[in-house]
Symmetry: C2
Subunit: 225 residues, 2 copies
């Protein structure tokens, strides 16, 4: 990525770019770098201040991690998305740890936490952008949490399968029960049991080789209500 | 409450008060009012924009409510506390509904949502205060959610009993199993079963008349680890 491409990227990602001073732009550019992450590697570990992450290709998964190693997937980031939680030094009001893994081979541009934090301190527009980004992401996270806490497993599983199918444009969901359980923040056994029930009702077929095929989306949709 | 008392209250609650124009202060005062809530009544219903609530006496309970009527208590507000979520018209990035009930007879001062929102739009300092208050409260809420999702019931129940006992300065917790279940976002049966187990272990005694008496706080504390 040459400098002009990076400037274009920043202009799209940061609505305050054009109001930054030339010196600040210079510092911002100098403090940012490209980074590649292999599939399955850790991108951000709760305690660090990695910086603002812009996803160029691939996908990242944000999750919570318990002391016992249990994970809850919050959401995923795709090309064009920006992650503000990884710039934790600029977000003092956030006191919980978020972890980020690379779900596929991914390329990102990272703006260093220090440079970003310095700007947040000096420009109230940057501070407002940062707080609003975090608040809006947290609001989405609350929705996920409410789903987990309130909805019954059959509802959540049918919503998940229909979402996946819509996202990939295919009637087959190519994920293992283990992966689905991790996305849903539940146990593999719970997912397997419910999929078996769905299959017995003729809603899906499930096999190790072919994944999960949605046979009756109409009735799956009825379950989500 | 006379005008001077209200000015003193606002000066303590809003760090930007002294930098507001005289006209804005005037509007702020004219748009705020005292309100009394009887124990158990609803103070704020997710959809409305009630305004910023300052608690003067009593206590309020913030909770999430599912379509099926299931509740999850997020936290409680005590005298001196401020609630920003009830000013939802000034917080566009928040897309989930929060409900507030009065837990005891309570007195509050309410700053109308419209007047507050107008100020947020015009003063970036007020906007930053609003976003930071919301973000910091949401960060606490995330902690509660993580507790619910990650911790086992015995841990959570012992933490709850010890917290209550510390809060009230008494070794007896005068709440019904139903109330405890609601605070913990779980079912009454789950709480009753675990209390029965605690009693059989000699950690507590539980009776309808006397409430829950903590007999062995040391071992209860060990359970929280």
């Amino acid at each position: 990525m040459n400098e002009q491409e990076r400037i274009d990227l920043f202009r799209r990602a940061f609505p305050f770019w054009d109001r930054m001073s030339e010196v600040d732009k210079e510092t911002f550019l100098r403090s940012s770098y490209e980074k590649k992450f292999k599939k399955g590697t850790n991108v951000h570990d709760g305690n660090e201040c990695t910086g603002v992450i812009l996803v160029k290709s691939g996908s990242l998964r944000l999750y919570l991690l318990s002391d016992e190693g249990k994970e809850i997937t919050l959401y995923r980031l795709f090309p064009g998305d920006l992650c503000i939680f990884s710039a934790s030094c600029a977000l003092h009001s956030i006191t919980f740890d978020i972890f980020i893994d690379s779900e596929e081979d991914s390329e990102c541009t990272v703006v260093s936490g220090c440079a970003y934090e310095d700007l947040v301190r000096r420009m109230s527009e940057v501070k407002i952008f940062t707080l609003e980004s975090a608040l809006s992401a947290l609001s989405d996270i609350m929705w996920v949490m409410q789903q987990i806490l309130f909805l019954s497993i059959d509802k959540r599983l049918s919503i998940f399968l229909l979402d996946e199918s819509a996202k990939t444009g295919s009637d087959t969901v190519k994920l293992t029960h283990e992966q689905i359980a991790r996305y849903m923040g539940t146990a593999r056994e719970v997912v397997s049991r419910m999929l078996k029930y769905f299959a017995s009702e003729g809603l899906i077929t499930s096999s190790r080789a072919d994944g999960i095929r949605l046979l009756d989306k109409k009735r799956l949709r009825a379950l989500t209500r």
